[in-house]
């Protein structure tokens, strides 16, 4: 029997603690598949955020460190100075990257840091129990906007990929989604390109990955995927904002 799909060795044997249907499991796997295919599992050093995926290091077979909330890009910048040729990535959620960590991500992009950032946008705070994120949509309910987010109270949701794309040092910026097998395949291609950009030391690579949070959205996993398609994609368009010639 010829294998069509075998779970990557990059994912350790440990079972994931994430909620049923949480797309962290897919995002983790895609990154590890790319690293395994590149032969880079042994070279990679990664940084996990504060958020549900703080414990990502239990699952990913790469050297990894937890960063303080929002500070993963600074931590990765320090790692990259000591190991300039090792592939380094940060994996961050919407609180970590779009709220407390906006200075760090903007400046990592601004400096053209030679690592990749994977931004898991699920429009809510997962680990702390469903509070509003900067990416929560207008009208979307959360525990800190129980009647639904309003512009007056909280402003319009923040589009991070667009923001980062305006910065010269960010040379590869793409927004992808995990909402179908086809989109997952595209997401993987983007991740492959991001690591190529890093290998060629072209600059900062940023991928925003639209994801679900069934538990805090109050929807079952399948309905969550539909909600993402109907509500998130129109506001957060799937697009390759910037891509260097060398990896097209």
């Amino acid at each position: 029997m010829k294998p069509v799909f075998e779970y990557t060795k990059g994912m350790r044997e440990m079972e994931l603690h994430y909620c049923p249907g949480c797309t962290h499991g897919i995002a983790h796997r895609l990154i590890m598949e790319v690293l395994e295919e590149r032969g880079d599992l042994g070279n990679c050093i990664a940084v996990s955020p504060v958020g549900c995926s703080i414990v990502a290091h239990h699952y990913l077979d790469v050297d990894m460190i937890e960063a303080a909330h929002g500070r993963a890009p600074a931590t990765a910048s320090g790692i990259k100075r000591v190991h300039p040729d090792s592939p380094v990535f940060t994996y961050q959620g919407d609180g970590d990257l779009a709220s407390i960590g906006t200075a760090e991500i903007v400046h990592a992009a601004h400096r053209g840091e030679k690592f990749c950032t994977f931004f898991i946008n699920n429009a809510i705070y997962g680990m702390t129990g469903g509070q509003m994120a900067p990416t929560t949509l207008i009208g979307q309910k959360s525990t800190t906007c129980v009647e639904g987010r309003t512009v007056a109270q909280a402003g319009m949701p923040l589009r991070m990929a667009e923001l980062i794309a305006t910065i010269d040092g960010a040379v590869f910026v793409e927004r992808v989604s995990l909402s179908s097998p086809a989109e997952i395949r595209k997401a993987k291609k983007a991740i492959q390109r991001a690591f190529e950009v890093q290998e060629k030391k072209l600059g900062f690579a940023f991928i925003e990955i639209l994801s679900t949070c069934p538990t805090n959205w109050g929807l079952n996993p399948v309905d969550s995927i539909e909600w993402l398609k109907e509500n998130m994609i129109p506001y957060y368009p799937l697009k390759q904002f910037k891509c260097p010639e060398e990896v097209k």
């Binding site: 799909f5 779970y7 962290h24 897919i26 097998p181 997952i184 996993p221 399948v222």
Partner: protein, 73 residues
């Protein structure tokens, strides 16, 4: 005649049904009787012969339950 074969690690399954929704042949379903170690009804295949080995299920699975193989080549 099946073109694809699934090997399932049902102990990892959380019954999220993302694979059920993604399967183009609609041959995946949560087992109505069995309950796994975690307390979920895990995924099961209703009609193995129909599997085309597209691996959509494995792509959507967040928990590494499904490995997919091509049969008879």
């Amino acid at each position: 005649m099946a073109k694809g074969k699934l090997i399932l690690r049902t102990d990892r399954c959380k019954g999220c049904e993302l694979c059920v929704a993604a399967c183009p042949k609609k041959i995946l379903k949560l087992d109505e009787v069995l309950v796994n170690q975690k307390g979920y009804h895990p995924i099961s295949i209703t009609n193995e012969d129909e599997c085309i080995g597209c691996a959509n299920c494995a792509l959507m699975c967040p928990d590494g339950v499904i490995n997919v193989y091509r049969v008879g080549e």
